[in-house]
């Protein structure tokens, strides 16, 4: 298997084309108003990192993009379709949006290989043979081919998260959503997971990454969104945000997390 296995498939999308559009997004949990009006556009090929203090709504914003959270107000468009409109089958669209979670969420009752092949086979995207071949290629890329037939219980945290990444990639998504992918890892395992994400991003995968890894966000992103209090407080290139932040709240946050 070649490098291209871990890169986005040729999906006919043009780089720079609008991929995700969010308009007037509001989300509350009971009385807690988490997202207070978000407008944002993610373009094909972009790598966008979302940073900000805890409770600022970063994860909720990301989880709204594939409707794991249903917003009360606002519109979410993916590849031109409003996916939160009534009567839209969101399952079909989710198949093109890979997601990686903080807690890995690998399936403990399935072997490593079956974790990767489950979705392509269940959604009739691939035959069992085809899915096995694709999965083995992906596992080889992340150095887990020899673990194909073991259960995830025996894997380290870093290995589980790499497995979770290729599980999402097996569906050949058009965009990858990462929700603090390294926050639950032991420090010595952060690097191996970031390496996989870096390879992916370099291959041109459109990526939205919620993270506390400022150095990594700065290095790989085209654009940084700084969120605070349920709104996007500031948005710009990594050089702008980290080098010359305009908002006082961005400055305050960065002064606390950058030494």
């Amino acid at each position: 298997m070649t490098e291209s296995m871990i890169q986005p498939n040729d999906n006919g999308l043009v780089k720079g084309q609008e991929l995700i559009r969010v308009e007037g997004l509001h989300k509350s949990f009971g009385k807690l108003h988490v997202l207070k009006g978000i407008d944002e556009v993610i373009h094909q090929g972009e790598v966008v990192s979302v940073i900000g203090p805890s409770g600022s709504g970063k994860s909720t914003f990301l989880r709204c993009l594939n409707l794991l959270e249903t917003p009360e107000e606002g519109k979410i468009f993916f590849e031109g379709v409003q996916i939160n409109a009534k009567g839209v089958n969101v399952d079909i669209h989710r198949r093109k949006m890979g997601m990686v979670f903080q807690q890995f969420n690998v399936f403990p009752h399935l072997s490593v290989l079956d974790n990767v092949t489950l979705a392509p086979v269940m959604t009739k995207k691939m035959s069992k043979e085809e899915a096995n071949e694709t999965a083995m290629g992906l596992l080889k890329r992340i150095g887990l081919a020899d673990k194909a037939n073991v259960f995830p219980r025996t894997l380290s945290g870093g290995q589980k998260q790499r497995l979770a990444i290729v599980r999402a990639l097996a569906m050949s998504p058009d965009v990858m959503l990462f929700d603090e992918p390294t926050s639950a890892l032991d420090p010595e395992m952060v690097g191996e997971v970031l390496d996989v994400i870096r390879t992916l991003v370099k291959g041109g995968m459109t990526t939205v990454l919620v993270t506390h890894e400022m150095g990594f966000a700065r290095a790989v992103s085209n654009r940084i969104l700084f969120m605070d209090g349920g709104v996007i407080e500031e948005s710009g290139t990594p050089e702008q945000i980290f080098g010359d932040p305009q908002s006082p709240r961005t400055r305050e946050f960065l002064s606390k997390v950058l030494f």
Binding site: D91, M99, N105, V106, H109, A168
Partner: protein
């Protein structure tokens, strides 16, 4: 030893009684699992009416003694002008009882699965039905298997209530044989030994199974 004398004289009857107890328990738990899954689906359904019906059913069954339920289903057919086989009535009552308990077991099993599992499956584009069948239920059933085994052990003991209606289980045999040979106490001891051997070996078997399953988890 009069116990041994009684065993020598009446072992075919005790064996027959043991068989009745075991297969009644097995059928009850098996049907309880099937109907319990359905009741569980009702309890977790969006429809308020289905939820209300199933909740009332589970609460009433769990809040009343099984002996009373047996009597109800024993006398009910006559009230409705029906003539039904008494074994069928008893089995029906046991299944109605077990279904309520098993449905709660399954519900707790499903709720014990981390919501992240569902989110991961849905984010891959699986439907809610596929997620339930492929991701949640296999893990839930694995988690509650010991409890289902316990339900079987409980049922072995609870079928002793069938002797109230002379259904032919171990306790029924104990009563008839004890009276026929004028050895009621010795008959009780034999029945006790049979129950203990059944439940003890069952729980040992369960422990073994549990350990095996934890290994390949």
């Amino acid at each position: 030893m009069r116990v041994i004398k009684l065993i020598a004289a009446a072992w075919p009857q005790f064996l027959q009684g043991t068989w009745v107890t075991v297969y009644t328990s097995l059928i009850t738990v098996f049907l309880g699992l099937i109907f319990g899954s359905l009741v569980c689906l009702m309890r977790m359904n969006k429809s308020k009416i289905l939820r209300a019906i199933s909740t009332v059913y589970v609460e009433v069954i769990r809040g009343t003694p099984i002996l009373l339920q047996l009597w109800i289903f024993f006398l009910l057919p006559a009230q409705l002008g029906l003539v039904l086989d008494k074994y069928f009535c008893a089995l029906f009552a046991l299944v109605v009882n077990s279904t309520a308990y098993v449905s709660e077991l399954i519900r707790s099993g499903i709720q014990s699965i981390d919501v992240g599992q569902t989110e991961a499956a849905r984010s891959l584009g699986l439907t809610s039905g596929q997620t339930m069948i492929k991701i949640v239920l296999p893990q839930a059933i694995r988690n509650i298997l010991p409890a289902i085994g316990n339900e079987f052990i409980m049922m072995i003991k609870e079928t002793s209530l069938l002797s109230t209606f002379m259904i032919g289980d171990i306790m029924t045999v104990r009563a008839t044989v004890g009276a026929a040979y004028f050895l009621p106490f010795q008959a009780l001891i034999i029945a006790g030994i049979i129950y203990f051997v059944l439940t003890f070996s069952m729980s040992k078997l369960l422990g073994l199974l549990e350990r095996r399953m934890r290994q390949d988890d």
